[in-house]
């Protein structure tokens, strides 16, 4: 699952290395518009509908937080 998420992120913002353990939001690697694209791609890839309340920057700050969000939405780890 982690690799799928990395691939999606890489497609959205190919100029950044998402395998680095940094905060993607604080580092400016993702902004609110990217988050919208990311939510749409995650919904489509994993056939889920991410809760509106979860569309907050902190939930997309790291690979682990994104994976946590997917698990919360029923994706098997």
């Amino acid at each position: 699952m982690k690799q799928k998420v990395i691939n999606i992120l890489q497609e959205i913002r190919p100029e950044f290395d998402f395998t680095r353990e940094v905060n993607f939001i604080d580092q400016g690697m993702l902004d609110s518009f990217d988050v919208v694209s990311l939510v749409s791609a995650l919904d489509e890839t994993f056939d889920i509908s991410i809760d509106g309340m979860d569309i907050l920057p902190e939930n997309f700050a790291t690979i682990d937080s994104i994976v946590g969000l997917l698990v919360k939405n029923g994706v098997q780890p």
Binding site: F16, G28, M29, S32, F33
Partner: protein, 278 residues
């Protein structure tokens, strides 16, 4: 319509709407700092209409609004009532997303007596060129004493519908962060550049040269300041009027490329953006 008292009210209202439907459709991307500023200034309101949520930011005679709902159908129902309830108020909203998605939203808004005002597209630059930054004696970092002039210039020369112009307080915050550079001669601001550096990304917010002082390379000095400040970042971003071919061509010359991300500004007045010069 209720005046929002604190940020938690916003989150609670979103949760309520989300719990009542499936999916999300929104142009509201909560930025705690910005929303809190609007709440504290008493300019931020919200209203729930037919299971959809609307947020309103009042500024002078314009009201920017944001929606949070589940589906296009729900948005359509709520907009119908909103446009009736707020007839006579100058409503402005930004439809953000990929071009195809925004086209669908535009149809809904058109059906509810909204009109396209202008469309902006985001451009980005990810390559790093070798910079030949040349300092200029008239180029300086803005101080708090410049805030009023910058605020006045923004409100004089920028379109308040196409742009959600910053408040004086926001300008002061940017000045405190060193995010505004000015080109000043004889204590007159002839141009300025405003940008924000966030980690590996820099956002060019405003780039301005006074109409009486154009074609003097002032714009180039200011833009170079932005490039110089952005030398450690990996991505530089800004929004430009989509139909402004000349500006887009110029930005492409500097290495920027348009993204498939647009901002369609819709209003309930049948007027169109008129360029004041770029």
């Amino acid at each position: 319509m209720n005046k929002v008292q604190n940020y938690q009210e916003v989150l609670d209202a979103i949760k309520e709407v989300k719990d009542s439907g499936k999916g999300i459709l929104t142009n509201f991307f909560p930025d705690v700092e910005k929303i809190t500023r609007w709440i504290n200034s008493g300019d931020f309101f919200m209203s729930k209409i037919k299971d959809s949520l609307f947020f309103f930011r009042y500024r002078d005679d314009i009201v920017n609004f944001f929606y949070f709902t589940s589906t296009l159908e729900m948005l359509n129902l709520a907009l119908e009532e909103l446009s009736t309830r707020m007839q006579g108020t100058y409503l402005v909203t930004d439809l953000l997303g990929k071009q195809d998605d925004v086209t669908l939203l535009e149809e809904i808004f058109r059906a509810n007596k909204f009109y396209p005002y202008v469309t902006l597209c985001r451009m980005n630059k990810s390559s790093q060129d070798v910079l030949m930054f040349v300092n200029h004696e008239s180029l300086k970092v803005a101080g708090r004493q410049h805030a009023d002039s910058i605020f006045h210039l923004l409100n004089t020369y920028f379109d308040p519908v196409a742009e959600q112009l910053p408040s004086l307080e926001e300008i002061l915050t940017w000045i405190d962060h060193g995010d505004i550079s000015i080109f000043e001669e004889n204590e007159e601001i002839l141009g300025f550049v405003i940008y924000n550096l966030i980690g590996l990304t820099s956002y060019l917010r405003y780039w301005f040269v006074h109409p009486q002082h154009r074609n003097k390379k002032i714009g180039s000095v200011l833009l170079n300041k932005f490039f110089s400040a952005s030398k450690e970042v990996k991505r530089q971003l800004f929004w430009v009027i989509q139909s402004n071919d000349n500006a887009i061509k110029r930005y492409k010359h500097y290495g920027f490329e348009p993204e498939n991300l647009v901002d369609s500004v819709m209003t309930n007045k049948n007027v169109r953006y008129e360029a004041k010069g770029d």
